[in-house]
Subunit: 190 residues, 2 copies
DNA sequence: ATTTGTGCAAACAGTTTGCACCAAG
DNA sequence: CTTGGTGCAAACTGTTTGCACAAAT
């Protein structure tokens, strides 16, 4: 009971509505390739180049996904990314988001996280590795890094004859504002 | 394409077979409460007590789940637990496994893990916290503990004004035998 | 008789896939 | 024309839930 599965979408969209009625209104603009949209000028170019040099053909959609991840510095779910992009470019499929994320992840351009036991969240891979502090009340995620951890893991791995590929340290706790909320709440009960 | 989703069950059992045909063969034995089965003598008693003192009414099924987790020291998925129990006690539902795991987790008797990005795996909560070393080739999990990590996380949390509740450190790498396999494989290519 | 737990099947939610169509070389 | 990418809907998979029945008090 009270199984709190915070879901990004409230309900499954009843898949019974538009059954390929008008496959026409696909491309409103012109060639649709040189459009820079309304993003900060040079940024798009750089991202495009990043994709290309990673062997990912930079289509509009892929660029949008990558861009969304780099701009909003948070840890977004696939559906959140979908929603954000959709608000500007209506016709993009969730499947494309997933396919793109898969490719980006494979090429090392994004990282996938599964905090607590929720669905996957993605972030553009940062220059230097960092770990996460997650609030179990509100879900807030704070990044931090502790270079010493790197050495510790080497020791642990060596003892067990493992070759390290990566690591993941997540600290679960209660953030400052939630602590405050708790205190207020407790005060009311006394 | 090569989307490696290692699944504990190959296929969904086509839910079209037994539609409540014979709700009879439920309880083969006698009162079915005092049965110790074939487990090491005193063990069952202790586990029963553990459950009871945690406020979980110790039914046959719950006991079985808990017992399976404590005996097989590994990190089992719900379906694996189901399979193991089923081989001795045919009629137990997967839903019961999940409900029990949920209860056990809530009471702090088991821990849930989601290594890599697979399904959940469970382990009986050990006396002292430990972390995991996971082989990305074969999925083997080795436990280790690094008491120093405890201090580091305290520091990281304090800086960010978090109250620590728990942490999770997973190191992904390649285990000894898989390293050997790789070398052999590489040798063949030269 | 009341309460609690269970098995089963159906529902869910996140993710993946099959396919017809679109877009670029 | 060929190749690869996309949108859509359907399939899949791990997990949860509704419900009728069973077990224990």
């Amino acid at each position: 009971m009270t199984s709190g599965r915070r879901s990004p979408s409230q309900k499954t969209i009843s898949t019974k509505n538009g059954k390929r009625e008008t496959p026409s209104l696909k491309r409103p603009g012109p060639s649709a390739r040189e459009r820079k949209e309304d993003s900060p000028s040079g940024t798009t170019q750089r991202l495009t180049e990043d994709l290309r040099s990673s062997g990912i053909h930079p289509t509009q959609q892929r660029l949008r996904v990558f861009q969304t991840l780099t701009e909003s510095k948070g840890h977004l779910s696939a559906e959140e990314i979908h929603g954000l992009i959709r608000s500007q470019t209506p016709r993009i499929g969730l499947a494309t988001i997933y396919r793109t994320l898969h490719a980006l992840k494979e090429k090392g351009l994004v990282e996938e996280h599964r905090f607590n036991d929720e669905f996957s969240r993605y972030e553009a891979k940062p220059a230097k590795h960092h770990d996460h502090l997650i609030c179990i009340e509100c879900g807030k995620v704070v990044e931090f890094d502790q270079p010493v951890i790197e050495q510790l893991q080497v020791a642990a791995a060596r003892e067990n004859h493992f070759t390290i590929v990566s690591h993941r340290l997540e600290i679960y706790g209660i953030c400052e504002s939630c602590q405050r909320l708790r205190k207020e709440h407790d005060a009311l009960l006394l």
